[in-house]
C-alpha cells in the first residue's frame, strides 16, 4: 500500500523536473556558453563589470529589510497581544493591500511622490518647499518596504502569537522585568519568525525590477533591471542575462545559508505562512 501511494508523486516529480530543474540547468548552460554554443567564461567575467549594480541592489535590499523588521516587529507584537477576534481583523488588514495588484500600488506611490504629486502639493500648500522624492534611492527603498512589509509582519506575528504566556510569567517569576523579558525571552523565542521574515523580504527586494523602474527612475538600476534588459530589453543578450541570474541565485543561496545558521532548524515549514 505504502509503496503504491509513493508513486502518486511521480507526475509532480516529472513536472518539476521539466519546469524547474531543466530550466535552471539551461540557465547554467547559457551562462557558460557564447552565442555559438561554445564554452566560455566570458559572461561570468562580464558580470564583474556590473558589481556596482550588485552592490546597490544588495545595499538597498538590506536597508529595506532592516526597515521592515524595525517597523514590522512592534506591529506584530501589538497584534499578538490583542484578543483573538481583533487579531484576525488586524491580520486581514495587513494582508488586504497585497490583494491589490502590486504594479498598481507602486504606481500609486508615483502619484504620491512626484514633484507635483500629492505630498509635494500638500507641502506647498502649507508653505514648505517641495522635496525631490521620486527617482531617488529613498523612493526605491520605500517601495520595497511598502510592498514586502506584510511578508515580515506575518511570520513575526505567527511566532509571537505562539509564545505561551506561562513562559513569560515564568521569566517574570524568576525576576525579569519588562525589559529583560523582552530581550531575553521574547526576542530569542521569535528568532525563527525574524529569520523567515528577513528571507521573505530580502529575496524579492534584492531581485525586483519593477519598483526600481517606476520609483527609481533611470539612475537606480538594480540587478532585476539588468536581467530584464538582457532578455526582453534593448541589450538583448541571454547568455550574459543567464550569467547574471546565476550569480544572483548563488548570492541568495549564500545569504539563506548564513541566515539558517542563526536558526536552530526547527522551522523549516514556517517559511510560507
Amino acid at each position: 500500500m505504502k509503496s503504491k501511494s509513493k508513486m502518486l508523486s511521480a507526475p509532480y516529480t516529472i513536472w518539476m523536473t521539466i519546469f524547474i530543474i531543466v530550466p535552471v540547468i539551461l540557465v547554467g548552460y547559457f551562462a557558460f556558453t557564447d552565442k555559438q554554443g561554445t564554452f566560455t567564461l566570458q559572461n561570468i567575467i562580464q558580470v564583474g563589470e556590473y558589481s556596482n549594480v550588485f552592490i546597490r541592489s544588495i545595499w538597498l535590499g538590506a536597508l529595506a529589510t532592516a526597515i521592515s523588521l524595525v517597523l514590522g516587529y512592534p506591529l506584530a507584537y501589538i497584534i499578538s497581544q490583542r484578543t483573538e477576534k481583533m487579531q484576525n481583523v488586524m491580520i486581514m488588514l495587513v494582508m488586504l493591500p497585497m490583494w491589490m495588484n502590486f504594479l498598481l500600488r507602486t504606481y500609486s506611490w508615483m502619484t504620491l511622490l512626484e514633484n507635483n504629486g500629492i505630498i509635494n502639493n500638500l507641502l506647498a500648500s502649507v508653505g514648505l518647499p517641495r522635496v525631490q522624492m521620486i527617482n531617488t534611492a529613498g523612493a526605491v527603498v520605500l517601495g520595497m518596504v511598502y510592498n514586502y512589509i506584510p511578508y515580515m509582519i506575518l511570520p513575526l506575528y505567527n511566532v509571537l502569537n505562539k509564545i505561551d504566556n506561562s513562559v513569560i510569567e515564568a521569566a517574570q517569576d524568576l525576576g525579569a522585568d519588562r525589559r529583560s523579558v523582552f530581550l531575553k525571552v521574547i526576542i530569542p523565542m521569535s528568532m525563527p519568525g525574524i529569520i523567515s521574515g528577513i528571507t521573505m523580504v530580502f529575496v524579492p527586494a534584492v531581485s525586483t525590477f519593477i519598483i526600481s523602474k517606476m520609483l527609481g527612475g533611470g539612475a537606480n538600476l538594480l540587478i532585476g533591471d539588468l536581467i530584464d534588459m538582457q532578455f526582453l530589453g534593448s541589450a538583448y543578450n541571454p547568455n550574459l542575462g543567464s550569467a547574471i541570474s546565476l550569480v544572483l541565485m548563488v548570492i541568495i543561496l549564500i545569504c539563506m545559508g548564513i541566515m539558517n545558521q542563526f536558526d536552530d532548524g526547527e522551522n523549516t515549514g514556517g517559511m510560507l505562512l
Binding site: 519546469f19 524547474i20 490583494w99 543567464s242
Partner: protein, 270 residues
C-alpha cells in the same frame, strides 16, 4: 502605553492604505489633462471608458482563463503529489520538500527567465508555435504547485493514519475510502491551496512577463500602461478589482464564522 501602540498601529496602516485610497479617489477624478494629482471634480467617466476598452477586457479574459486552468490543474496535481510525499520515508521526503521549496525561495525573476529559456528552446526544437497562452498556463501551474502542496501536507499530517485503514476495515474499497474519508479531512487544505493558486496566478506579473510572448494578461497590460502617461481608467480598474476582493473576503469571513471554527474543534481534543 496602550495609547502609544494605538498611534503606532494607525500610522503603519496609514502607510499601507494611503496608496490604495489615492488610487480609489482618483478613479472618480474629472480631469481633462489626465493629471494624476490635481482634483477636477467627481465623474464616473473612467468606469464607462474602462468597459469600452477592448484591450483591457481581453487582458482580463486571458487572466481569468489562465488563473482558472492553472489553479485547477495545480490543485489536482499538487493534492495527489502531497499524498505521495506524505507516505514517503525521510530521505525521499526531504528531497521532495527541497524541490518544492526551491521555486519559493528562488528569486521570481530567475524562475521567469529560466522558464523563458526552456520555452524558447522547446519552440526552436519543435519548430512550432510561439509563446502564449499555453506557456503561460504551464508556467503558472509550476509556481502554484508548491503552494498547493504546502497547504495540503499539514492536513495530511494531522490526519489519523488509522482513518484510512478503518474505512477499509469497514468495507470501503481503497478508492472509496479515499473519496469518503481522506478527502473530506484534507478538503480545507485543498481549498486554501486552490484559493492561493488562483490569487497568485491572477496577480502574477514577473513570471508572466517572461513567458507570455505577445499575449496580454491584466498585470502585463497594467505594466504597459504605467510606462506611458496613464489614463485614470487604470484607477477605475484597480478600484473595481479591490472591491471584488473585498467582497470575496468579507463573504469568506462570514462563511467561516457560520461554520464552527477549526480552532474550537481542535481545542476539544486537547
Amino acid at each position: 502605553m496602550k495609547m502609544k501602540s494605538k498611534i503606532y498601529t494607525f500610522f503603519i496602516f496609514l502607510f499601507l492604505y494611503a496608496p490604495i485610497i489615492v488610487l480609489i479617489v482618483y478613479s472618480f477624478n474629472d480631469t481633462v489633462t489626465g493629471s494624476r494629482s490635481v482634483w477636477g471634480g467627481f465623474t464616473l467617466r473612467w468606469y464607462r471608458k474602462l468597459f469600452e476598452d477592448r484591450l483591457i477586457m481581453e487582458a482580463l479574459r486571458n487572466s481569468l482563463i489562465i488563473a482558472f486552468s492553472a489553479s485547477f490543474f495545480a490543485t489536482i496535481l499538487g493534492t495527489i503529489a502531497a499524498i505521495g510525499i506524505n507516505s514517503m520515508k525521510s530521505l525521499g521526503r526531504k528531497i521532495m520538500m527541497n524541490v518544492t521549496n526551491f521555486p519559493m525561495v528562488n528569486p521570481e525573476i530567475v524562475t521567469g527567465v529560466s522558464m523563458m529559456l526552456l520555452f524558447v528552446f522547446a519552440v526552436s526544437l519543435l519548430n512550432g508555435r510561439t509563446l502564449g497562452m499555453g506557456t503561460l498556463i504551464m508556467a503558472h501551474i509550476t509556481f502554484c504547485l508548491p503552494y498547493v502542496i504546502l497547504s495540503v501536507l499539514p492536513k495530511l499530517r494531522q490526519m489519523d493514519p488509522n482513518l484510512y485503514e478503518a474505512a477499509q476495515d469497514l468495507g470501503c474499497s481503497p478508492f472509496k475510502s479515499f473519496w469518503k474519508v481522506v478527502l473530506p479531512q484534507i478538503m480545507s487544505g485543498i481549498i486554501t491551496g486552490a484559493t492561493m493558486a488562483f490569487t497568485l496566478s491572477i496577480d502574477d506579473f514577473v513570471i508572466s512577463y517572461f513567458t507570455s510572448g505577445t499575449t496580454q494578461t491584466l498585470p502585463i497590460y497594467i505594466y504597459s500602461m504605467t510606462r506611458k502617461r496613464i489614463s485614470p481608467e487604470i484607477n477605475a480598474l484597480s478600484t473595481l478589482l479591490f472591491a471584488v476582493v473585498l467582497i470575496l473576503l468579507l463573504f469568506a469571513n462570514f462563511r467561516q464564522k457560520k461554520a464552527p471554527s477549526e480552532k474550537a474543534a481542535k481545542g476539544g481534543e486537547v
